[in-house]
Symmetry: D2
Subunit: 433 residues, 4 copies
């Protein structure tokens, strides 16, 4: 039986609030969705701690993964099909890569990766190539098919056109999450005319290009991206929750390393603490498990772990002020000193968080983070790089914007029980304006 | 300090995808939202297992509670304010009752209540009146204020106008959840012109009435409700997940009662099994905790508990067929017999689930479930019951619709390892059509 | 050259607020849209006088015609294509019939047809078959093609499946106008899940049927239709404008018949007055022409024509009261008498208008207005008539609802200059409640 | 009776697709809407010829005027009310100015003003101050009230805060039309979070300022504006229709001046041709009148007038190519020469049209077109000009973008009947790329 072309008896649909419906015609796609590794994505939020700022942002990576799949399906079935530059044999590969591109994400990936040095991309690869239900389904298509899927996701697949569908400055991944995150948070940014963008996409031998008649829809997408980054993804309240989460993870590890006796033993965390996480261990990590521990740890003896967990679970977040690392470097040292004086451990209660984004970049070969430019297909068939044609994109191209904030527990500093004077000094430094 | 009128320095807003913004002006409301009992609602899904059918339905009761609050706020501040029938002193009471009306919900309430006989309404009362952060905030308004809030939610408050804002056939609770659940699932039902309905609401001494000019918006609301019940809330796939969930809860209790040695001891469940759940126990129950146990129980020795948990976590649900209890009563007994022959325990693998709804009812005094009718305010100031004026509502008034389905594990019946013949007989009975 | 399959070099799109985009791939469709007879539909409003009630309702029949075309295009290209019951040779025919189905509409058709006995269906036929640009384009496909298009629109084409796409109780015409009229008026009715309905449509030898899994979307469509009729199409203010319009047309004709000397001679109206309107005459009639005359006639000597035109142009409409023709027949005669006494001509200033609708009907062979029922395709391949499966549709099936109103010029009756007493008697009869 | 505070017995609402509802509480506003001068705006399209490009753009200035009124009503009633910088006595003045700001617009104002040198702002003033129904209503508030309304609209009113509500770089006028035009055309641009912008507006003594927390919503508005200008307002197809319209107006005037005998005498145009248009004449000009003449002129003897009118009525527009006036100045002269050789009058059949926009400008005192900047209110109460805070606005501030196109009748140049060679030369120049 040729699984690469095996169709369902009848198309299945998922009702999707962003794309109306997600359509599945292929048996392999249907089977992948049913695997336990893919279902696990239901238990991992797409936007991590953002729900503490935008209460609607409770949607999972399962949602988003279906959405990316659906966008790629529309591109290959409605736009690329029949064009000479498109190889129909790479259709199923593209769909699988789209569906599975986030498979290795764990709970609150950003903070976990920072503290425990896990790598979700590496785990995506492991799940696809390891002893998993996902692997078994992919293997039915062909012995080398799992490797191909992993290569597309890992950007090493030879046909860069396929890679660019899910990894480029305007790909199905970004197009889905901008719209989906806007929908669930309820913000008015994040809207752009995706139908138009899809219609002007053209396959070429090494990337997707965009007919110049659709340039303004692409501009609008770039602007949406810019706004979503600064209004939603880098929201300072969300970053406050991330700071606390990171500190919990650090504290738990530090306690473990010094042989602290946990009332609730962190079984699921041991391999993380020791930085030797097996695939099996990893797949057991999901948000309910993490939140279970945090709830239990609200009752630990260790006052710092207990307090940080209480803060995270009950949204008692840190306050923040602007911080300029170039000018205020010394200040940070001074504050740490004062925190110690006030018996508030600065390792856990004082943190600088920086967010930084480059909304669009033209191609700079050889630079650390090469980004393929968005190319427009002009009426005369030339390709022009987007920022050359769009004044508005040109204005923001290659301009990195960075925001630094200093986080601290304001109510601890207001607490009158002791160290009133030093706390006042701290407050007068932090909130002098 | 008079907390009943204490305003925030500056209005706070929450971005809400359904109502655009939720506005908070009162210190008490702000403080209630910040309590740990209210924040706990973030960890309980509004629609329980529905996300396994509609992947967008991952929103929490926290979301919905803010929405109900916002609708009542608009009613009292934009529509009722200044009208002689409205007592401005009951404004804050109405807002608090709206915000807190679902406070006692636990994870997957429906199934838990069925198996463990908990009562979320009772817990709402306990949280409001017990030793909680919520109680402390409410108490600042006045010593009798918590009781009043509990009475409004419990429908025993003397001023039925206030009660009817959150408990009637057209109240802020229903108006929020129909719209919110439609938004998150993405279905096209659930839309009605709430702005119009709010504008035609009029306070009277014992209930809210609706100016007859808005009758069609009310009709549309009734139809939305009807469609949402049958398309979303009673979806047979969701009910399949509920069946499995219920069976897990039953099995865990049965094992506990027979002194089964759990590898993962069900600490959080003990008081549930013994049906003496304290408020403190209850507040620790949230969905992450339950899902943590289900994940752990996938590795229990007991094959039934293990299998059911695996099914729930990985969406391997039961299939279903129509069932007519009046005609097929005997059949059920016969199937149970055959299941036992096939060594599939019918207590856990064969279930009838019934859903039943009355989309609207006029008033039938003395009947078991009295429902206050929706009254229209005619141009001549008479009140007419809705179904008297609306042909379309009249057509569905008082007509209960019930749906019965029989659930079973199809892939176990297809399994060839043993009992092939009896399984074939079962399948031929179930799927003969 | 085979025009039936001639494709444009590149697909053209129209931005459409309801369907996002209207896609044109066929040269014939593109050419038809460019004809002057089709462009003329830009100068005829879809909803006649409704813009005087809902100010957004200024959209033209051009809009709607493109929309109906687009819906049929989606049905035949995305749903029917490749199914054995569908004859691909009838694709272009279906598209042309959809595009042109309203071609013969004139300005304010309803009132013109009532007074001057024109027939827009007859003119649709004449434009398609006569010496027109439309005919020339259609003729390129084949000598008998214009006749076929006219037959589909006229419902005499042998393949009833094709006919049912644009003329049945659930067709592309209705699906477009419900959504479009809801969009432009801004009302919250008129929404239903068209994408779902399209996906469950199945061609059969004599009509379109609907897979039973989509029943609720069909129910929702029926309810939308019901609400749009009563909330928008039969709105009493719109009917007031229609009454005045009808009276203008009557008055102009009466004046012409009695050789009244018009200051602005009604050149465009002569053939209407004489009820021998040629195709050429008819095609010159559009709303700007009619409104030009009404503006000019605001300065006619005839006080009735002048006043009615002033009313229509400046929205000084008649007021209305409920009227029950079965009980109040005598009253009408009495009022006419009193109007004459008050020197207000009842032929122009007193009118009963009745609106009546049957939201859905099952099949009643032999009755005056046979309507084909909506049939559901059950899982066992049987066809069941909709109202047999849907309790809510059953409740309203075959139930005609009629509304009668009596219209009169209230401010004339309040005018104190003369006949105060008889006017008071009139007012006391009309507004006694 | 004090008309400035006279309220309607019951609030009236208009269903509006953009703002959901437009609310009217004041008798004066209600009466103004009922005047014939205001009702006349129903017969003038908001976007002139844009409907020939975007078929949904058929909405009138009546629509838009209600929308601007509603936005100002929300600002003054929901945001400004009660603030010390806001003078409640200027509430009604602000509402009237908002409602009436476009009152003097005629049909296709842009082209008419260009050819006949009318001035819609002057006519707005005349209608407000002259012998009109509008004046009579305004006069009821006070003898100097009409003058005040005219001054606000004319920007000469002393309190610049009131002026800035309807005339600034971010005012109710622009906020309404961006959203409304986006809605009716169906484009995905034009959306921004107006509710947020309204909430951060603060009155000051000389203008509206915006709390810095809302900066991103303001940025988004600026971007919407930019996109709407280039995607909708300056669309080259719309400009083609404008070119033809302008040429019709020029030709008719030229014919009149040379005593051409019109078959349909241009009664309504005489005062335009002679550039002495009285208020009475002006008020009779609406789009139906203009379109009536164009239809009649399709049958004039003059071949140019006839052809141009046919083109406009039936959307047979000119084609266009890019044109660079700085480099191609000579080319234009050369083309005119060749057109004459080909017997195609270049005065009517060859035209350069330029569109130019400055999406946002900071303040440049003394420059020809002073624009007040948008000022943000920082947390420390300082005011910062928007482009100082917003990188993205800074990038486009003060940068004028201009687009030039050359329009010509392509099908005349393809016509083979004569002058084939010179036409080929023209085509090779125009379409050489």
């Amino acid at each position: 039986m040729d699984h690469s072309n095996l169709k369902l008896n009848e198309e299945k649909v998922f009702k999707d609030p962003v794309h109306r419906y997600v359509h599945v015609q292929d048996q392999i796609i249907w089977d992948l969705i049913g695997t336990k590794e893919f279902q696990r994505l239901r238990r991992i939020k797409q936007l991590g701690t953002t729900y503490l700022t935008f209460h609607g942002a409770e949607h999972s990576r399962f949602n988003h993964s279906l959405g990316v799949y659906e966008i790629v399906r529309r591109i290959v079935d409605d736009v690329f099909q029949g064009r000479p530059e498109w190889n129909e044999d790479e259709r199923l590969l593209s769909l699988c890569a789209a569906l599975l591109h986030d498979l290795g994400h764990g709970p609150f990936s950003h903070s976990f990766e920072k503290v425990y040095h896990t790598d979700h991309e590496q785990f995506t690869r492991s799940i696809i190539l390891g002893v998993t239900e996902v692997h078994a389904v992919l293997h039915k298509v062909g012995a080398d098919f799992p490797q191909k899927v992993a290569d597309v996701i890992g950007k090493t697949y030879p046909n860069k056109l396929v890679v660019s569908l899910i990894s480029s400055q305007i790909d199905a991944d970004r197009m889905d999450y901008l719209q989906r995150d806007a929908y669930f948070t309820g913000v008015s940014y994040g809207h752009f005319d995706m139908e138009r963008i899809l219609r002007v996409m053209r396959p070429t031998e090494d990337q997707v290009v965009f007919k110049a008649t659709g340039m303004h829809a692409v501009e609008d997408y770039i602007m949406s991206r810019y706004q979503m980054y600064w209004q939603v993804y880098f929201h300072p309240v969300t970053r406050s929750a991330e700071v606390i989460l990171t500190k919990i993870l650090q504290r738990a590890k530090a306690l473990y390393q010094r042989d602290y006796q946990f009332k609730s033993y962190p079984t699921h965390f041991i391999s993380l603490f020791e930085e030797k996480v097996s695939l099996e261990d990893y797949l057991k990590l999901d948000e309910p498990v993490i939140l279970y521990y945090f709830q239990m740890w609200e009752e630990e003896e260790d006052i710092i772990l207990q307090d940080l967990c209480f803060r995270f679970m009950n949204r008692k977040l840190f306050k923040y002020v602007e911080f300029d690392p170039s000018k205020q470097y010394k200040l940070l040292g001074q504050l740490e000193e004062l925190f110690r004086e006030a018996e508030i451990d600065p390792d856990y209660y004082l943190a600088v968080d920086s967010s930084s984004d480059l909304p669009y970049d033209f191609y700079r070969p050889g630079e650390e983070e090469e980004r393929l430019p968005i190319n427009l297909l002009m009426p005369n068939q030339e390709r022009h790089e987007l920022s050359r044609e769009s004044a508005i994109v040109e204005a923001i191209s290659g301009k990195r914007r960075t925001d630094h904030k200093l986080y601290y527990p304001r109510e601890l500093l207001l607490d009158d029980s002791k160290h009133r004077e030093v706390k006042n000094r701290i407050l007068s430094i932090l909130e002098k304006h």
